[in-house]
């Protein structure tokens, strides 16, 4: 489902900049990216989403080319159809939960995920009218996942969605993630440094070093 071969560069190498050659090719639908912090896991997700531009290489998702340096292909972020769930949720503070969920609705195109279904799947029906400021960490992540799904993505990118939560909240959120995995049939790239999470949620693991 994911074929990616890129060189990521940040800053100048001679003054301690960052340069990684990352190669992931996997036909599994749910892939984990593991590795110690600073290995560039988040940078890889950013590259798939188009938030950073690789120095060279090629990114293909589910047979669709998103980036190809040699062919000068660089699909703009807003046309990539990636559902990105950030580590820090990044809900819009000036919108309600409902406003956040509806933000990504696209005009035209197929509606694979319906509003009510996603709300039920994630159990966020009671939160719809709330401001995002007073959601708990777990609630905020569920809303962020819902918001990503409702943008009708073709791939879901999850960047350590559990890392900002305490242990009890983690255990609470994992079943929701498993449901998203099993019921959406979307390709998923899951970034985590926790072996336990990776084992419980994903089928194939790639370790970056």
């Amino acid at each position: 489902m994911l074929a990616l071969d890129i060189v990521l560069e940040r800053g100048r190498r001679d003054v301690g900049g960052f340069r990684r050659h990352v190669r992931v090719e996997d036909s599994a639908r749910v892939i984990a990216l593991a590795g110690h912090s600073g290995a560039g896991k988040t940078s890889v997700l950013h590259a798939i989403a188009g938030l950073v531009t690789p120095r060279e290489g090629r990114i293909e998702v589910d047979g669709r080319c998103l980036f190809d340096a040699a062919a000068r292909i660089d699909v703009p972020v807003h046309e990539r159809h990636v559902g990105y769930v950030f580590q820090d949720a990044r809900l819009f503070p000036h919108l309600t939960v409902r406003g956040n969920l509806r933000y990504g609705r696209r005009t035209g195109g197929s509606t694979r995920f319906a509003f009510d279904d996603v709300v039920a799947l994630l159990g966020i029906g009671a939160l719809l009218a709330r401001r995002t400021a007073n959601l708990s960490g777990g609630e905020a992540q569920r809303v962020a996942i819902g918001r990503a799904l409702l943008s009708q993505p073709r791939i879901l990118l999850l960047d350590e969605p559990l890392s900002n939560l305490d242990k009890a909240r983690r255990e609470e959120l994992i079943p929701y993630l498993q449901r998203v995995r099993d019921e959406t049939a979307l390709p998923i790239v899951y970034v985590s440094h926790s072996a336990d999470e990776v084992e419980r949620l994903t089928a194939a693991v790639h370790v970056l070093d």
Binding site: A49, G50, L51, V77, H78, E79, R80, H81, V82, G83, Y84, F86, D88, R90, F92, P93, H94, Y103, G104, R106, A133, R147, A148, S151
Partner: protein, 248 residues
């Protein structure tokens, strides 16, 4: 002993100047000042937002020069700004002559010219405030909006603008306050014609030139202080509200 019917406390102080009896000319100047300052702030706001956004978010060739040009009215003698406007936009000026000849549009010696002069003078303050508020609008939220399918223009409208809004309004209020106090550029460009271009500032200056104008000067000065103080408090409150909103 019957009390006189038409008695008034002021009878005790027959020679005390009547502090708050505004003359029609003073009221006209106050109304004109408010009109000029409001139009100056609102009309320059779109350009102020665009410039603030450009300076906050974009890197381009000549950015330092644009930044310097925007700030020029802050450090130039206002009379120079007024003179430049007169040369450029006066009815026989380089641009003004063209506009007058072909479209019959002229701002020289009209209240619109006063608004233009004070807009130019207030522009640096407006842009500085708007730029800061756009800089402090969280770019990570803009990224999130883009991944959700929002075009850059929609990201700007639906995320950047609402997040920066209190700062943008504060910038407009600040420009309003500055426009209210503008004197040098305005009087150079459009003179001080009562009812057309004579604002509070130039009315005070005019009263200084005639004997016995003290009471009028005091009245106008107090009004200027009052309005400016309110505007500054409002602007400060708005900026604080934006900071508070982020802390939540």
């Amino acid at each position: 002993m019957p009390i006189p019917v038409s008695w008034h406390p002021s009878a005790l102080l027959p020679h005390r100047p009547r502090m708050f009896d505004f003359t029609p000319a003073e009221l006209t100047a106050i109304a004109l000042s408010l009109k000029v300052a409001t139009v100056a702030a609102l009309a320059s706001l779109p350009l102020g937002i665009a410039t603030g956004w450009l300076l906050a978010r974009k890197r381009f060739f000549g950015k330092a020069l644009v930044d310097a040009l925007v700030h020029l009215p802050l450090v130039l003698p206002p009379v120079v700004v007024g003179y430049v406007l007169l040369v450029a936009l006066g009815n026989h000026g380089v641009v003004g002559g063209f506009l007058m000849h072909h479209f019959g549009i002229g701002v020289a010696f009209r209240w619109t010219g006063a608004a233009l002069a004070s807009a130019v003078m207030g522009f640096p303050l407006m842009v500085r405030t708007i730029r800061l508020s756009i800089e402090s609008a969280d770019q990570r939220l803009e990224q999130a909006a883009a991944t959700l399918g929002a075009t850059p223009w929609r990201v700007f409208r639906s995320v950047t603008l609402p997040l920066a809004w209190p700062g943008i309004v504060a910038g407009a209020v600040l420009a309003f306050a500055k426009a209210l106090g503008e004197f040098g550029a305005t009087i150079t460009f459009v003179s001080a014609i009562p009812g057309e271009t004579q604002t509070i500032s130039s009315a005070i200056y005019g009263l200084l030139q005639v004997p016995g104008g003290d009471a009028g000067i005091w009245r106008l000065a107090l009004v200027a202080v009052g309005i400016s103080l309110l505007a500054l408090l409002a602007s400060e409150w708005l900026v604080r509200r934006q900071r508070g909103g982020e802390a939540r």
